[in-house]
Amino acid sequence: MNQVFNSSEKIIKIAILAVGGQGGGVLTNWIVDLAERNGWAAQSTAVAGVAQRTGATIYYIEMAQSSGVRPIFALAPAPGDVDILISAELMEAGRAIMRGFVTSDRTTLIASSHRMLAVSEKIVPGNGIADNSDVLKAAQMSASKVIIKDLDAVARENGSVISSSLFGALAASNALPFSENSYKNTIRASGKGIEASLRSFTAAIQCVEQTDEEHPPTAVIGSRISPIGKTSLVSRWNSLANRIDKLPLQIRDMALAGIKKLVDFQDLDYAGEYLATIETMAHSDNPDENYEFTVQAAKYLANAMAYDDVIRVADLKTRSGRFGRIQQEIGATPEQLMALTEYMHPRASEICATLPRSIGRWIESSKALSSWLERRCIKGRRFESHRCIISFYFTYSAV
């Protein structure tokens, strides 16, 4: 009985917050394995949470140096009593801070700075995305050590999942008394996607140690692109791009984004017309106002001209990238058959709008015809666009 395990300071408590599919379970197993590999005793639990999204789970691990007697571990984290908090998403970290799991006297906070939008953020008609800076500020204030990097990007760049880069960040934090090698051995022993996991693990360590500044968001908009394709088309694109370079500096980025969008939506002629409107507007705009009017017009006119019609929706639905993305999301292998059902609910006015002007107007002006069409449309339709050539053709032909 004199071998009582009583020093609670020797117990290291780790909480992991992850959303489904982020590999929270894998990360938990790795950490437990890591502890046991080094002769520690460890226990893990998982509490499936009902967050504002499809369920953020709290994994909880307690570990202690083995002293021969099996220590009794707690099942769930208590506020103010967590040494390491790992969050696989930024707002999840914010939620953990609110619940008191992060305290300035002891908690090392490791979080990925990327966002997965909550339902409450998506349903706002305008921009409902919550402000990141509040969480970042709160993190700096409430944790004893903060590591916030875009670990999701690190993992994806290395063909892995966020669990491996979080594991790397944990190693880099030195919050656990284990060597980098034993981390790697843990990954090797797990036996699945080892190479990619190790790559991502190492990259995460570099990312944390490298600099303290954030992964700068890569600017997609405004970067000049060099398109490939038919020479005549490329030279026409380049002449549009050259016209943009003659515009006042403030307008260029937005106008370039605009023509990219409109070439994608329709063609080079269409983008040219857009650019001509912007040029005229810039000409009469006031430089003292920083060309604000033309900048806003460049933004919203491009959006207005790339309206969502049946053609565009069908175009987006039949792009090969979409099939690949869905395949990846559901984790189907190339030899598995994938069934995809499209839910469509066009209004009668949309059907008319897809007809030539005169016919469309004729139907819309005829009460009998348009109410018949409305009745036909009210039910909604389902198409299987994955393999049936007829329905694929039906969707594709609308492009």
């Binding site: 349903i123 329709q266 269409y270 009017f293 006119l301 207005a304 709008a353 030539p356």
Partner: protein, 107 residues
């Protein structure tokens, strides 16, 4: 069908819509630069297709309809911005209605 798009009824409707909107913004820009900018930004209310598009368009119309009572006021741009934010924020339209009522109370 992409190649015929510009001959379709929808294109004609959209073309008309954005031409009127640009003309309106241009017209106001000459007297009140900030107001012109705010009118342009109202386009943000319109997006999507089907019901979403119809709803957005109706909010857009309601906001721009208030240009007339606000005509000549120095704070017109400010009010249009407020109307647009109200329209963006509420799903059921009550905030927008409230702001419209407020404006009617003093003009």
């Amino acid at each position: 069908m992409k190649r015929w798009r510009r001959a379709l009824l929808r294109h004609e409707q959209e073309l008309k819509h954005w031409s009127l909107w640009l003309d309106l913004a241009n017209k106001h820009r000459n007297e009140n630069y900030a107001l012109g900018v705010e009118i342009l930004k109202c386009r943000r209310l319109i997006k999507g297709y089907g019901d979403t598009h119809a709803r957005g368009q109706s909010k857009f119309d309601q906001v721009l309809h208030m240009l007339q009572p606000l005509e000549g006021r120095q704070d017109a741009a400010n009010w249009i911005a407020r109307l647009r934010e109200a329209a963006l924020k509420d799903v059921d339209g009550s905030k927008l209605e409230g702001t419209i009522k407020t404006i009617h109370s003093f003009v």
